[in-house]
């Protein structure tokens, strides 16, 4: 009986310690307020977007954020901002961290730290009736993408490597305001192909069935990251632990599977691991 009591006491103590360790890792400010403030750019289905019928905020990032908040024992309050506003929102403290389809990239790691949580990469797609059969067919053609992303640089690098190195003409980059504008320009024929994050293409294709066709595998490989201020190591550790827990018990893959992105899962959360 004594042994059992000792065992029970130890088990209870370690459970409490684990629970306390998880909650204690959260910065005091957030723990006391009981609220996590997060900004998203809700124009990026299926990662974050507003349901056209109800205007409700939805998406993979939103569900992950809510699940992380629940694990950390806090409520999440979401605000909508423009994509270019995400990083300033982190700097000014408007958002506690960024989980909004933001790629982990070397230039961004100068001012932020990332927990990589989703594999991604830039991918070409064309109208279903396009003559292009493979990415190399796009040399010399007009390529569009959202100018506020890191994709223009990716396109230029790809063009140098695949087109100009093979003696073909370089691609002509045509900027767009957002992914909807880019698809609109492709429908009108202003551009021949477009580039988007590979995680958004299954949704875009299912939304307008039969209109588009993906061209080739993603031509860059990297990660979407949850971005933290460099000074917020405690918060980052807490979120990392929570995410690790979600991967371990399968809830992470379940959320990804809901959006058709189970193949983009990471096996453990990584910090600043993107090769880009």
């Amino acid at each position: 009986m004594t042994q059992f009591r000792i065992f029970a006491a130890t088990a209870l103590a370690s459970l409490m310690a684990m629970g306390a360790a998880q909650a204690a890792a959260l910065p005091d400010v957030i723990r006391k307020a009981g609220v996590l403030h997060l900004s998203v750019n809700a124009t990026y289905a299926p990662m974050e977007y507003h349901d056209p019928a109800t205007n409700q905020l939805m998406g993979l990032d939103v569900e992950l954020g809510e699940a992380l908040g629940k694990r950390l024992g806090v409520k999440v309050e979401w605000t909508d901002v423009a994509f270019a506003e995400l990083i300033p929102s982190l700097a000014t403290g408007r958002t506690d961290f960024i989980i909004s389809g933001l790629s982990d990239r070397a230039a961004r790691r100068e001012t932020m730290d990332f927990i990589d949580y989703l594999k991604t990469g830039a991918q070409f797609f064309v109208m279903a009736d396009s003559a292009a059969k493979e990415p190399a067919d796009l040399c010399g053609k007009k390529l569009g993408t959202t100018r506020s992303t890191s994709f223009p640089g990716d396109i230029e690098a790809w063009s140098k490597k695949t087109c100009e190195a093979a003696g073909k003409p370089a691609v002509q980059y045509v900027p767009g305001e957002n992914s909807i504008d880019v698809r609109n320009q492709m429908k009108q024929g202003r551009i021949d192909a477009a580039v988007q994050g590979s995680e958004t293409l299954p949704y875009a294709m299912s939304n307008e069935a039969g209109k588009y066709r993906i061209l080739g595998a993603p031509f860059t490989l990297g990660y979407q990251g949850i971005a933290f201020r460099k000074t917020d190591t405690a918060l980052r550790e807490a979120v990392m632990e929570a995410l690790g827990g979600m991967i371990a018990d399968g809830s992470y893959v379940a959320i990804l599977g809901k959006y058709g992105l189970a193949a983009n899962a990471v096996s453990t959360p990584l910090v600043n691991a993107s090769p880009l």
Partner: protein, 263 residues
């Protein structure tokens, strides 16, 4: 001694100094502002801004004069067309008009004169042309009202006198009425032109490479949003600061022969 004035001036200066201090000590990284203030991309941007503002204003004035004259015409067809034009282009947001011009291919995939020439709308409606048409035609609706007010402000006696020496309506307008209307028309038009310089920033959403668009491209790459917007703001201020005394000079020239006081 005007003690009140001294005190007020001191308070205002103190507030300005505190404001300047807050900006200097804030999280804005001023070295980036200095660094990007004169890069070629920004200079090209402000040149494109001024070029578009001048051309769109010219188009707006040309359309405005035409529509104002049509509006004051006894011909009911001309009158309704002018009213309809003003209603439509004053009644819709400028950003919507710009987007419609840029995406004209959704409605007219090809443009042209049947039998002579045609082309794809996406090739014809470049960002430059879309911005020019969008801004100019929108401006025409507002300018037409300003010109109409100017024409109405000229004493009807002038028109009767012109008629009495045998001038037709259009001739009277051109030689007698409009030159006198200029004095009344210039201050609001100068105002509109300054507004146009900044309205060109809306053309950034249709990819016209004016200064805001180019500043945005820089901060999309290096994340220094406020610093680059301050760079664009400085250039807009510089352009408006040059235009304001120019407007004054132009007004003085058209006010020749009239004085508000004395003879």
């Amino acid at each position: 001694m005007h003690w009140g004035r001294w005190f007020a001036a001191a308070v205002i200066l103190a507030l300005l100094a505190l404001l300047a201090r807050a900006f200097a000590l804030g999280q804005i990284e001023w070295p980036y502002v200095a660094r990007f203030l004169t890069v070629p991309v920004i200079i090209n941007g402000i040149i494109n801004t001024v070029v578009m503002a001048v051309l769109a204003m010219a188009l707006g004035i040309a359309l405005g004069v035409t529509i104002a004259i049509m509006r004051l015409s006894p011909n009911p067809v001309l009158k309704s067309v002018a009213s309809g034009y003003t209603w439509l282009f004053r009644g819709t947001p400028l950003i919507l008009q710009l987007l419609l011009w840029f995406n004209l291919a959704l409605v007219f995939p090809t443009l042209g004169i049947p039998g002579i020439w045609s082309g794809r709308a996406v090739d014809i409606m470049t960002p430059f042309l879309s911005a020019l048409l969008g801004l100019g035609i929108n401006q025409g609706a507002y300018t037409s009202e300003v010109i109409r007010a100017g024409i109405l402000s000229v004493d009807t006696g002038q028109y009767e006198a012109a008629q009495s020496i045998g001038m037709g309506r259009l001739r009277a307008l051109r030689r007698i009425i409009l030159p006198q209307a200029m004095r009344v028309v210039l201050p609001p038009l100068g105002n509109e032109f300054i507004g146009m310089v900044k309205a060109t920033s809306l053309a950034s959403v249709i990819q016209y490479p004016e200064v805001l668009h180019n500043a945005e491209n820089i901060y999309y790459a290096n994340s220094r949003v406020i610093e680059l917007l301050i760079v664009a703001g400085i250039w807009y201020l510089a352009v408006v600061s040059v235009l304001t005394p120019l407007q004054m000079l132009l007004e003085r020239r058209f006010a020749r022969g009239t004085t508000r006081m004395g003879r």
